[in-house]
């Protein structure tokens, strides 16, 4: 760290050369801050790694190979990232409506368990894949939408703050699915043939086609979730619904004045937001797991918050942020295996990335990056801005 401070001038000079190149050749100016934030975070992580007596370059080399060291690693990293896209979109979409949906964790579970239930229905195996696959995805999406919609309804009808209600609903659904999947008396969703508490396996016909036989499996769900990002971008920027969501998020009073039904937008945004988490869960159930186990989505919702914030709630940038996040988690095991550095370090690096991207003033100072535009992280108060 101190090296960075002292060499600020040098870094600044070098950085401006890099800027010119990036700027003129690739027009990547908006990315500077993010790139430097990542760099800085790895430096901080490297210091920690050195403290425990490991050569940071060895560790990072292993991490890098774990992330992108070969076709299998790349596919695995991408596959690990796919569900994060959904959980991050869940936060990002609600955020546009001025709602803080920290319930993706629960919406994933609700979507996953619904998808697994529908996927394992006996008549699913009679359906062709072209019907069964959309059906299981829709089921999961609906599950997520309903679980996301509840806090929306509570917010609209009773004013209950969505931060409380989503925290409570996260726990409720977790206990609910644990019971459903574990209980033998009565049997709710448990696969009674398994000693592991999980649901019955879904029908073969409902399994999403595999793209690469990596660990975890990279499946067609990738296209669904990446596609959804572009759909959401279009939805938010080009449709009347997106306009309503954005208006409610920026100024609910003006929305009310302009004839927008604010309550309906709140409920719809929460439901749509939950549906993304539900879709992500369904695609995991269908493409990777083949059954539902309550622990599968552990922390995916909370990581989604960080990813969405890292991407500044921009739906397309979420793809990149999720890839970064997922591949770091995916690469961490190799770092531990080869360098004996635990995943905690990756967690610290991730927090740092988010920190430096958010507090871009630090990065701008260190690397002499000009302020391009108002950072979306700077909360603007409506009154203050006018």
């Amino acid at each position: 760290m101190n090296g960075v401070g002292n060499a600020n001038a040098g870094v600044g000079r070098a950085a401006s050369q890099v800027h010119r190149f990036l700027n003129e050749v690739w027009r990547l100016q908006p990315l500077y801050v993010s790139l430097y934030a990542i760099l800085l975070s790895f430096v901080v992580g490297g210091v920690l790694i050195s403290i425990i007596g490991v050569n940071p370059f060895t560790a990072y080399w292993a991490l890098l190979r774990g992330m992108v060291g070969g076709g299998d690693q790349i596919a695995g990293s991408v596959a690990r990232s796919v569900p994060f896209i959904g959980s991050a979109l869940a936060l990002a979409f609600a955020f546009r409506a001025g709602l803080f949906n920290i319930g993706a964790e629960g919406q994933l579970l609700a979507g996953g368990v619904t998808a697994a239930f529908v996927g394992a229905l006996s008549w699913m195996s009679d359906l062709p894949g072209i019907v069964a696959i959309p059906l299981i995805l829709i089921a999961g999406t609906m599950g997520g939408a309903i679980w996301g919609g509840i806090p929306g309804v509570l917010r609209a009808k009773t004013g209950a703050h969505e931060v409380i209600s989503t925290i409570m609903l996260n726990s409720l659904v977790l206990f609910g699915v644990r019971w459903m999947v574990n209980s033998r008396d009565p049997v709710v969703l448990r696969d009674t043939d398994s000693t592991v508490p999980r649901t019955d396996p879904i029908s073969e016909t409902a399994v999403l086609p595999e793209l690469v036989d990596s660990q975890p499996t990279l499946h067609v769900g990738l296209f669904a979730l990446v596609g959804i990002c572009f759909v959401v971008a279009f939805l938010l920027n080009r449709t009347t619904f997106g306009f309503e969501v954005g208006t409610v998020g920026l100024n609910p009073h003006a929305s009310h004045y302009a004839g927008i039904n604010v309550n309906r937008v709140i409920v719809a945004s929460m439901a749509v937001s939950g549906s993304f988490a539900g879709l992500a869960a369904a695609s995991e159930i269908s493409g990777t797991n083949g059954f539902f186990q309550p622990g599968t989505f552990f922390l995916m919702g909370f990581d989604g918050i960080a990813i969405a914030l890292l991407a500044r709630t921009n739906p397309v940038a979420i793809i990149a942020a999720a890839l970064l996040w997922g591949s770091m988690l995916s690469g961490a095991p190799l770092m531990q295996q080869e360098a004996d550095v635990s995943i905690d370090v990756v967690r610290i690096i991730q927090a740092m990335v988010l920190l430096f991207v958010a507090a871009d003033a630090i990065v701008r100072y260190l690397f002499r990056v000009r302020e391009l535009d108002q950072s979306p992280f700077k909360a603007t108060s409506i009154e203050g801005a006018v």
């Binding site: 306009f243 100024n251 009073h253 004839g259």
Partner: protein, 511 residues
């Protein structure tokens, strides 16, 4: 202290060569000003002329780029308003700087708390507040919650706040904007009595009549520069107005005789509660006909906001009915009412009128984004929106670099023009307009007034709510006074006098 009469040339505050720039704007350009002991010095200028900026520097809220400020001959460089307060400067801001959830006493002592040991001593504070109130004739209840007070009472709290801090240089920023004519007179008495007790006062306003009534000396600011200093004896309304605006100003709004048609807006026995559940409109009746402007005068806080919001569908009524174009629209959504051909220029520009972060184009279609013209099958037609926006920007003379600029980059007047442009376009049958020119410069005011009259001449029923009595008087065909949620009386504009309206506003009773 010796009694010092008006005009004694002993300066207590000298401002010399002050310049202050904000990004893109020179707010004050080499401004100089002297305040003498015991005088009332009026600072006159249009909105945006730089009056408040200058005073915020004197009060330590802003720091000047260059120039000096001297208090009683001593040069000062305030880091914050605490230092200004310590020098005996007090300021009553145009937008009251009060904390609504606090009691009066808490608001008054905040920052200069009275303590007993480590704890707040609210008893002593109450006694001191009462004493101040008695001494200056400013009745306030120390235990009342400020959010529950009327604006007039809130202003008294602001004054007591300054006096509590032993201020002897008082800066009053547009203090009369929220008062009835009668209250204004009372207020002037208070101000006079303050100068009698050794206080020196800077009085910021853009109302010429008041300047002439109260000022000893007058300094006129225009576009950040001092364009003249004069005394009340030598100045006339016309001369001051010309100085202030920089050209000849026509006071009267030209308009033809009204030609009222059939009833368009009819409100019967309307009852509405405010956000806290207090009934603020209680049994209001009015009828506005096509082709007339019905002005509603009244002190703010008498139910204007709730009335307008209910008529336009933004707030549910708890009783009575609203009828528009022969249909019972009580309980309709804002959208349904809008689609009936009812436009609404909202009172609170930043809260309701615009979405600050949106572009001018998006704000221009804020309540029409779903019309076929601007969206097809749920997809917005950006080209059509921008084309419409360009046309409106031109027609309404909005000064902007482009329609895609965020609206918060515009001045208040131009933002209001955007709202007016949005609302006054299309097939209108009725227009509900609240405080349409608040905070605007003379040019914008004239423009908006013209537009409203144009609409009325086209046969639109206009309900105008304004706290500016001059605006009501010059635009309206008929005038109603809103007092405690009821219509206290209706007069024909041609027969209305300031005095009569003032009395109605203050007491709800006709003389």
């Amino acid at each position: 202290m010796a009694q010092v009469g008006n005009g004694t040339a002993r300066p207590v505050l000298e401002v010399e060569g002050i310049t202050k720039t904000f990004p893109g704007v020179v707010a004050n350009d080499n401004v100089s000003l002297t305040l003498n002991q015991g005088e009332i010095h009026c600072l006159l200028g249009e909105n945006g002329a730089g009056k408040s900026t200058l005073m915020n520097m004197v009060f330590g809220l802003y720091r000047p780029d260059s120039g000096t400020i001297r208090v009683r001959g001593e040069e000062v460089h305030f880091e914050d308003s605490g230092e200004a307060i310590a020098r005996g400067i007090g300021m009553v801001h145009q937008h009251f700087q009060l904390i609504p959830v606090f009691s009066v006493a808490e608001n008054i002592i905040l920052g200069n708390e009275i303590t007993k040991g480590a704890f707040l001593d609210l008893d002593t504070a109450r006694r001191q507040v009462d004493a101040l109130a008695d001494r200056y004739g400013l009745a306030v209840d120390p235990d009342a919650i400020v959010g529950d007070l009327s604006v007039g009472e809130q202003q008294r709290v602001e004054l007591v706040k300054a006096l509590f801090r032993d201020a002897d240089i008082l800066i009053l920023d547009e203090p009369t904007a929220v008062l009835t004519p009668g209250e204004v007179d009372d207020f002037f008495e208070v101000v006079e009595s303050l100068t009698g007790q050794d206080k020196s006062i800077i009085f910021i306003t853009h109302k010429l009549r008041e300047v002439l009534a109260v000022a000893d000396r007058i300094t006129v600011l225009r576009a950040g520069q001092v364009v003249g200093t004069t005394t009340a004896e030598t100045a006339t309304q016309q001369s001051l107005a010309n100085l202030m605006v920089g050209r000849d100003v026509v006071f009267r709004v030209e308009k033809a005789e009204p030609d009222p048609g059939k009833s368009v807006i009819r409100v019967e026995d309307l009852r509405v509660t405010d956000d806290r559940g207090v009934e603020t409109v209680s049994g209001f009746d009015v009828e506005v006909r096509a082709g007339e402007i019905f002005g509603i005068a009244g002190v703010e806080g008498n139910g204007q906001r709730e009335l307008v919001e209910t008529i336009c569908g933004m707030r549910p009524a708890i009783g009575g009915r609203v009828e528009m174009l022969g249909q019972d629209t009580t309980g309709w959504s804002p959208r349904k009412i809008h689609e009936l051909g009812v436009a609404h220029v909202p009172e609170n520009r930043s809260k309701h009128g615009v979405v600050a972060q949106y572009s001018i184009a998006d704000n221009l279609v804020l309540n029409r984004y779903n019309h076929r013209k601007f969206s097809q099958r749920g997809v917005r037609n950006t080209a059509a929106i921008n084309a419409e926006a360009k046309e409106l920007v031109e027609r309404f003379d909005v000064r902007t670099p482009g329609v895609e600029a965020a609206i918060h980059t515009l001045s208040g007047g131009n933002q209001q023009k955007v709202i007016v442009a949005r609302e006054l376009t299309g097939d209108l049958r009725a227009l509900v307009v609240a405080q349409p020119t608040r905070g605007l410069d003379v040019g914008s005011i004239e423009f908006i007034h013209r537009k409203i009259i144009e609409l009325r001449d086209q046969g639109v029923a206009v309900l105008l709510v304004s706290a500016e009595l001059d605006e009501i008087l010059s635009l309206s065909d008929r005038i109603g006074v809103l007092y405690r949620g009821r219509l206290a009386g209706t007069v024909e504009a041609t027969e209305a006098t300031r005095e009569e309206l003032g009395l109605l506003m203050a007491t709800g009773a006709q003389s």
